[in-house]
């Protein structure tokens, strides 16, 4: 997609250790258009957070980008010097993490934190920045923002703190927001408020959002497209409706079946046997093969690459096969 705001090409994230190099993100590619929400789901340890951290340039050493490119509005950002990257972060990319307390300094009033960030990135006076901070707090749904702006983080509840963090991520009007589990620590009622907020911002400001979560319900409500990650790879990526309601990859199918539903009559939930492999023991071929009910010989030897199947991209030999047959018969 040439209109992409963010483009990730063949990204690989590695951790050198004494016993060899661990590959936590292995050759993944995707893009996000302006105003689009890309959901990223998968079990814990799948590599979701590391992908997000690589994009914002916050990989903790010894973790490093070992291969691939990250482009923001067509410009490479993965190889920039630290200072330049710091300017882009905040100005063009905003970050929201699971625990709002990690993003807020408990010793400073929330307003001062927002004002400082605004003035780092935008040429505004103190008074203008303060006005903007109040407007932003209002925009994220904090009532009496003019007074609240002078409160400390501990004076806000969890849901309100997360909204302050969103205001902080938005304050320089970034083009892209990377949100890592932004609602996981929140109750459903607050979760619903935050999701509504993210959707509205996306629509009104044309902001692109990468939304990392393991909650399929949140994805179904919020995302335009979704990427399903497994063991450092993208198993399936496509329009959210197709992936949620008509999953093609056996792993996605397993995930969807495992989610209990209200109104569902099933006595037992579908269950994916076993657990995700450790990074030190990723099986050869398709990483999902020891748990896959449909695995066959080839899956244990060759690694499937994502191929287009309908509207989605799927990394699974079942579909390669179907395509080959089509080619023979057609």
């Amino acid at each position: 997609m040439s209109s992409a705001l963010l483009e990730v090409r063949n990204l690989r994230v590695e951790f050198p250790t004494r016993r060899g190099t661990l590959r936590a993100v292995d050759d993944i590619s995707f893009s996000i258009a302006p105003g689009e929400v890309l959901g990223v789901v998968g079990e814990s340890g799948a590599g979701k957070s590391l992908t997000g951290a690589a994009i914002i340039g916050l990989l903790e050493p010894p973790g490093r980008i070992a291969a691939g490119e990250i482009l923001l509005e067509g410009r490479r950002i993965d190889n920039l010097p630290y200072e330049e990257l710091r300017k882009i972060r905040g100005r063009q990319i905003g970050a929201i993490f699971q625990d709002p307390l990690t993003s807020l300094n408990p010793l400073y009033r929330v307003g001062d934190q927002i004002i400082e960030t605004i003035r780092t990135h935008l040429p505004l006076s103190e008074a203008q920045a303060r006005k903007r901070a109040i407007d932003l707090l209002q925009e994220v749904g904090i009532s009496s923002a003019a007074e609240r702006v002078d409160h400390y983080p501990h004076q806000f509840s969890g849901g309100m703190r997360q909204r302050v963090v969103i205001a902080l991520a938005l304050c320089a009007e970034p083009r892209l927001i990377v949100a890592d589990e932004p609602t996981t620590a929140l109750d459903v009622s607050i979760q619903a408020q935050i999701i509504t907020l993210i959707k509205r911002l996306c629509r009104e400001h044309k902001t692109a959002v990468m939304l990392v979560t393991h909650d399929m319900g949140v994805i179904a409500e919020t995302a335009d497209r979704v990427a399903v990650m497994y063991a450092g790879r993208i198993a399936e990526i496509g329009p959210v409706r197709d992936v949620v309601q008509n999953a093609k990859h056996p792993y996605t199918q397993g995930l969807m079946g495992a989610i209990p539903s209200i109104g569902g009559a099933e006595e037992r939930l579908a269950q994916i046997e076993g657990s995700m492999p450790r990074l030190t023991a990723i099986p050869p071929g398709c990483a999902f093969n020891p748990r896959c009910p449909k695995a066959f010989d080839r899956c244990r030897v060759d690694r499937p690459e994502p191929i287009p199947v309908g509207t989605t991209q799927v990394a699974c030999w079942l579909y390669e096969d179907a395509r080959a047959k089509e080619a023979v018969h057609g």
């Binding site: 619903a192 209990p260 009559a265």
Partner: protein
């Protein structure tokens, strides 16, 4: 494997709690109170909760963070003592530390499973010793070989292997550790398990394995569960009855199907409405304004009134008591009692998660 023999049970519910109440004293130190002229300060974590659980069923408590679910769980198993109220287990009152001490055989029949599979297992003990501990403590079996055999059987029962007894907790994943917690809870041969968010720290795929296991064990061993979760879809899947808590009070309970198909209390409707829509029916959500008020200073009258679209003057001054409703269950809401509430936005099957 041999299932533990069950005692013949008296008729009536297995557990009945009435007016269960627990306040926590969070007052500033005495000196500050004297000099700053401040009074004592209490958190009303649980405030007059009543419910019953029949043998073999699963009763769930749901509600937002801080509403008192875990406190109820801890009161029921005796980790906290109630400020007021009774906890009646098969006709024996366990509502005080003294009563619990006098009835060790009753206490032995209940066990608790916690949310965090990382914190709840002693990291320095081998899994075998962790699971054997209740067996030794209650002298259920004696002799090294007999205990080892039982531990192996318990491990197999929860889907692990007998030789996992030799390993340490850190060698297991979160889901496997939760299985170990369940094996340990079963080792004491309980018939009543209190499960406080047993799958909340786990991925959906692992959650499905644990929920299936818990249902299998319930069927095979005739277990009764008090199940705590903030995930309504999980609660729908596992429970026979559901109670909804708000700020320390039980605002509604009923049969699971009824509660989800015909929620009555405005708070229950709000919770159901807030669930993300996996079926993508395009259902318009009305995100509720406001948040849970502080339990230090709960609103007057009905504590839900600041967030309730149907609140009126009576709601602000008079606290609604739980009233039985036709078809089973109870609701504590003036508007329901007065019949001035429209039939709720029912969450109708099939499949909304």
């Amino acid at each position: 494997m041999a299932e533990p023999a069950r005692m013949a049970r008296a008729p009536g519910p297995l557990l009945r709690v009435e007016n269960l109440t627990r306040y926590f004293d969070v007052s500033p130190p005495l000196l500050n109170r004297v000099f700053e002229g401040k009074g004592r300060l209490y958190v009303r974590a649980v405030d007059g909760v009543s419910f019953e659980i029949d043998a073999g069923e699963t009763f769930s408590l749901v509600g937002e963070s801080g509403c008192g679910k875990s406190t109820v769980a801890r009161l029921v198993v005796g980790l906290y003592q109630p400020t007021r109220g009774t906890i009646d287990f098969e006709g024996v009152d366990l509502g005080s530390a003294k009563a619990r001490a006098a009835n060790p055989q009753m206490q032995a029949r209940m066990q608790m499973i916690f949310q965090d599979p990382y914190a709840s297992l002693n990291p320095r003990w081998r899994v075998g010793d962790i699971i054997a501990e209740p067996i030794r403590f209650r002298r259920i079996l004696s002799g090294r070989a007999a205990i080892a055999e039982r531990v192996g059987a318990l491990l197999r029962q929860v889907g692990l292997g007998a030789n996992d007894a030799e390993r340490y907790p850190h060698e297991f994943s979160g889901g496997q550790r939760q299985r170990i917690s369940i094996a340990r809870a079963l080792a004491g041969e309980p018939e009543f398990l209190v499960c406080d968010e047993p799958t909340s720290a786990l991925d959906v795929s692992v959650q499905a394995q644990i929920l299936n296991l818990m249902k299998d064990l319930q069927r095979r061993l005739g277990l009764t569960y008090l199940f705590i979760s903030h995930n309504l879809a999980v609660v729908y899947h596992v429970s026979s009855k559901v109670g909804v808590m708000y700020l320390g009070r039980l605002v509604e309970w009923s049969e699971t199907k009824t509660l989800f198909a015909r929620p009555r209390h405005p708070y229950t409707r709000m919770l159901l409405d807030a669930i993300p829509d996996l079926a993508m029916s395009g259902r318009a959500r009305t995100p509720v304004a406001g948040e849970v008020p502080s339990p230090l200073n709960p609103p007057s009258g009905c504590s839900f009134h600041p967030r309730c679209p149907w609140a009126n003057e009576r709601c602000k001054s008079e606290r609604p008591e739980a009233q039985r409703v036709p078809g089973g269950g109870a609701v504590a809401c003036h508007a329901v009692e007065e019949g001035r509430l429209p039939e709720g936005p029912a969450v109708a099957p099939p499949a909304i998660a």
